[in-house]
């Protein structure tokens, strides 16, 4: 399964997915900042954060299966961080566990926030939202091209993998496997480079000038303001009261 190619979500499935992308970006950014600043021992706060983001995800009808599948990619990173903490940090065991807890809980919460943003918003609407919020154009360009180029990269990798399988008749030794892999990676870069150049030329030839245009003209409405007010108030009250 190509995760980059799969259909992201039902973008108009609930009132929470229909929100203006700027409102979603501002709300989630505020939430992420609050999560990052929360002390690791504030367990009750984390519980309420989980409740809030779970409620948002359920209300948005975002598939938990899809989310968990992507969360799987975060696990190796967390494992690596965990090992680094245990090996290199000079604290005692309980302090190390605390650091690990802090990293894990915050990473997962932030992952869920980003998951809501991605799965509830069409990619180009999200980019348009960032653009309307005056995000520097370099960052917008990087995001736009990463989106397209990563999928090109994965398409090329898949086709090379197929070609390799079709001509593999025996089990390779590890050293042979590594050699093949290195050669494939270098070819992959060249092939992806060529394709991305062609795609960019195709975009240019249809008038693209690094500015994202969408059919929808975004305008915030009452629902947007109600959601953002309630959400920000909730976070603030958790922060202050607990």
């Amino acid at each position: 399964m190509n995760l980059l190619q799969s259909k992201p979500a039902l973008h108009d499935s609930s009132s929470l997915t229909k929100l203006d992308p700027r409102i979603k970006i501002i709300s989630m950014t505020a939430f992420i900042v609050v999560i990052a600043l929360t002390p690791s021992t504030a367990y009750l706060k984390f519980l309420f954060y989980f409740l809030a983001i779970t409620l948002i995800l359920v209300w948005s009808r975002i598939s938990f299966k899809k989310l968990l599948l992507r969360l799987f990619f975060l696990l190796p990173l967390l494992a690596f961080l965990g090992i680094s903490v245990l090996v290199f940090e000079g604290h005692n065991v309980s302090e190390n566990i605390n650091i690990l807890w802090n990293l894990s809980v915050k990473s997962i919460l932030i992952f869920l926030c980003i998951g809501y943003l991605i799965f509830s918003t069409r990619f180009f609407h999200l980019i348009k939202g960032f653009e309307l919020l005056k995000t520097p154009s370099v960052m917008i360009s990087v995001m736009t091209f990463a989106y397209r180029y990563i999928s090109l990269f994965s398409e090329e990798a898949e086709s090379m993998q197929r070609a390799k399988k079709s001509r593999t008749f025996k089990k390779h030794k590890l050293i042979e496997k590594i050699k093949i892999l290195i050669s494939m990676v270098s070819h992959l870069f060249f092939r992806s480079y060529e394709r991305t150049e062609n795609t960019y030329a195709a975009m240019l030839s249809r008038g693209f000038d690094r500015k994202i245009e969408t059919l929808t003209l975004f305008k915030t409405n009452q629902k947007d303001w109600i959601f953002s007010s309630i959400f920000l108030l909730y976070i603030l009250s958790i922060w202050v009261v607990l």
Binding site: Q5, P8, R148, A201, S205, F208, K211, E213, L217
Partner: protein, 242 residues
């Protein structure tokens, strides 16, 4: 001058690796005419096409309806010259067919109310009704070629430029695609080494090899010259073989 759709003068182009892809190219094409650019692989056909709407630029001049292509008028030029790429995978990069067809009109600042209407009409004319929400990468090659054409025809270009439009198509899809192109009454430039399509579609032919123009003239003269064709790795159209 306004009756001359394309005027290319002393065009030269080298790629960063110093490959001279175009050497002293000169030709012109009248409004409403169809020009076939033929030549073996690597002869410079695609590179030449990329100069016609300003994707590539180096030495020499390209004029579209008398206007020299320059940075200031690039949007107008790209609206006038629609370029369909050889590989539809390079041309199609949006999540749905509808978004892909609407990409050009949005970038060229067309009225949003009109865009939806235009996209639907173009798709209907090409027999793409019902494809709006489909992912372009899940379509057959023939369908992707049609969508690629739609992404350009929606801009109502005055010059239609097609790079290898029939490459890799099965005979049925090829015939249907040629019939679609035949019905388009605008000025056309078609690069191909499929002599049958060129014979069917173009009144004039320009032959290239190794980045140079070998000859140019009426199709019936050049496409019947077996020796000349074979000397340039080409062959007679099947209609003329007997």
């Amino acid at each position: 001058m306004k009756n001359t759709a394309v005027q290319v003068t002393d065009l030269n182009f080298s790629y960063p690796d110093k490959t001279n892809a175009l050497k002293n190219i000169n030709f012109s094409l009248g409004k409403g005419q169809s020009l076939g650019i033929i030549g073996p692989n690597g002869s410079g056909k695609s590179t030449l096409l990329l100069h016609l709407n300003g994707v590539l630029k180096q030495d020499g001049s390209v004029r579209i309806f008398g206007d020299l292509i320059k940075k200031q008028n690039i949007k107008t030029i790209r609206r006038k010259v629609g370029l369909v790429f050889q590989d539809p995978n390079d041309q199609l990069f949006m999540p749905t067919v509808f978004d892909d067809v609407a990409f050009g009109p949005l970038n060229l600042g067309m009225d949003r109310d009109q865009i939806e209407k235009k996209v639907k009409i173009t798709m209907k004319n090409l027999g793409l009704n019902g494809y709006e929400e489909k992912n372009p990468s899940h379509l057959s090659l023939g369908e992707r070629k049609k969508v690629s054409l739609a992404t350009v025809l929606v801009l109502e270009p005055q010059i239609l430029v097609l790079d290898e439009p029939t490459a890799n198509l099965d005979p049925g899809s090829k015939k249907s695609f040629i019939n679609i192109i035949k019905k388009i009454s605008t000025t056309k430039i078609i690069a191909s080494h499929d002599m049958d399509s060129i014979f069917d579609l173009c009144g004039r032919v320009l032959m290239m090899n190794d980045g140079r123009i070998v000859t140019q003239g009426k199709s019936e003269h050049i496409l019947m010259d077996k020796e000349l064709l074979e000397a340039n790795n080409l062959e007679l159209p099947s209609q003329l073989r007997s």
